[in-house]
Amino acid sequence: MAAKSHEEEHDNKAFGWAARDQSGVLSPFQFSRRVTGEKDVAFKVLFCGICHSDLHMAKNEWGISTYPLVPGHEIVGQVTEVGSKVDKFKVGDKVGVGGLVGSCHSCDSCSNNLENYCPEMILTYSAKYHDGTITYGGYSDIMVADEHFIVRIPENLPLDAAAPLLCAGITVYSPLRFFDLDKPGMHVGVVGLGGLGHVAVKFAKAMGVKVTVISTSPSKKQEALDHLGADSFLVSRDQDGMQAAVGTMDGIIDTVSATHPISPLIGLLKTRGKLVLVGAPEKPLELPVFPLLMGGKVVGGSGGGGLKETQEMIDFAARNNITADIEVISMDYVNTAMERLLKGDVRYRFVIDIGNTLKI
């Protein structure tokens, strides 16, 4: 018997845009979502942020993509149906889903609210769900997810600008907290001023931290200082500037996913300072050992955050009026947006207006 088509494998019709192959080009795609289970929440998708991971995955750059692939893990919308055992959400609620839609719920990580580190975590798209079917992400009209993986969006946050917080936001919020780089008066560097970087600046400032943006582009300086509120700006190629900043930072959040030298960044750290990478270069980086030892310094990584912390992050953002800086686009602009994203030509996240522009 032939395997069911994407349209038939579940009972609820769904529509979205999918990449069909490694070209990464997206096009309209009819598929289906599961019926709302007793612990599920179904929602109409209103907006979905475009994360750089969507681009990596659409082109199978990490070798784990399954096609057709519907990207999108910065999803916000309005609840249309809740399962019989759902008590945290009701129809009409504004909610979101980030990078995960499942985990094992029994390992050490899950028990510690770290579903993002669960060995059996299920990604929001291009992953195998508990029922054996492939997950499809937020470049689509409707979404169904287990209540555990749904986040409430507070009333005062505009939905479009809140969407990127579901991945970019938690990705930088979590390490600021975990590595103790959130204490007033500390000095934290943020490397790279893109989707992740600009949100990191906003969060760190709200935590009372002095922020220096470190970038290869001098053109971003005014933005960083005037608009995002960074305290200073360092051009990484400026030897004098970098030298003057040696040993001044308690920590650095490095959002750059291309291969880049970390030795100069380690030099910027104070003794016992921490360099935390949240972008993931594919190739190993050179680690100079002497500076690491002589200063008792640390190089660590962080990958997203658990659901409890994601809710905490959204609530923190709401209290501090923090949202992403976005460029709202229509669904059929997505391929152009992907090309611009590749060149870093966006301030600072594209968000697809799914509610108004995704049409069959």
Binding site: E286, V298, V299
Partner: protein
Amino acid sequence: MAKSPEEEHPHKAFGWAAKDTSGILSPFHFSRRDNGVEDVTIKILYCGVCHSDLHAAKNEWGFSRYPMVPGHEIVGLVTKTGSNVMKLKVDDRVGVGVMVNSCKSCEYCHQDLENYCPQMIFTYNAQNHDGTRTYGGYSNTIVVDQHFVVRIPDSMPSDGCAPLLCAGITVYSPMKYYGMTEPGKHLGIVGLGGLGHVAVKIGKAFGLKVTVISSSSRKEREALDRLGADSFLVSNDPAKMKAAFGTMDYIIDTVSAVHALAPFLSLLKTNGKLVTLGLPEKPLELPIFPLVLGRKLVGGSDVGGMKETQEMLDFCAKHNIAADVEVIQMDQINTAMERLAKSDVRYRFVIDVANSLSQSQL
């Protein structure tokens, strides 16, 4: 005109020094400063041979100046005390480690982190404030500021205690700082040499489960039966390594040669910490995916402050921890260095300075 090493200070001293990048040591006459008000003069009894002595003698790190008298694992007896010295007296058994001075006024010095003071002065191969070079413990006498002298607990043997002054504090400090002290947690130790074997003993004293990770199986019985490690993992055995993936809370990496970090990062659990203590000549390769996907970290640590060094000695005394040593005569040092380069020692050479140095003058 610069004075010769014999003349630059008022008190004659004798030791063995490396004269060039061959690293070969030979008798060397030099001098020590007057005992100042904050100083103690120490007659050296024993000095451990740290792998750093070998790196430095051969200028493997590029900042060696010759002649160089190595040695920063010094145990001896106080022979003189300055007028401001209250806590030490003549005949006290004391130790000197990796540092002999710091600025005493910066935020690090104020936090008992003299090892991170930007003006910290190494026991050897460094420059004193007066422009003269520091000379280490492969010598008969040393004059040191009291702040940088620790007391050797009465119960500890002088020879077995000497290596703790560098190897001991080098592993103890990060074990405390990175929280490797929770009984029942699992610590991996890469390399079973001077640092590694002391880390096993201290790890067991903290109540940790300890796995020794080594490139060869020849040290297995030693590690398990004599040192008390709980298990032994041969890093060249892919199947055994794979079976141990994601099982360790922390790893102490003592290997001083350039080596791959990736296999050891795989051994860590989520949130695991790898602390690297060796000083290879070249940078290491650091894969980033494992750090991001598992929130792991790689940290460095460099000895410890003076307060913590004393705390470490007292801890070792309480738990009957001393280094396993092979005592050698001064004139055997070059052979010992060759054997050290091949890791052929269980697990630290210690020079019997008091009994063999003066003979070597003849």
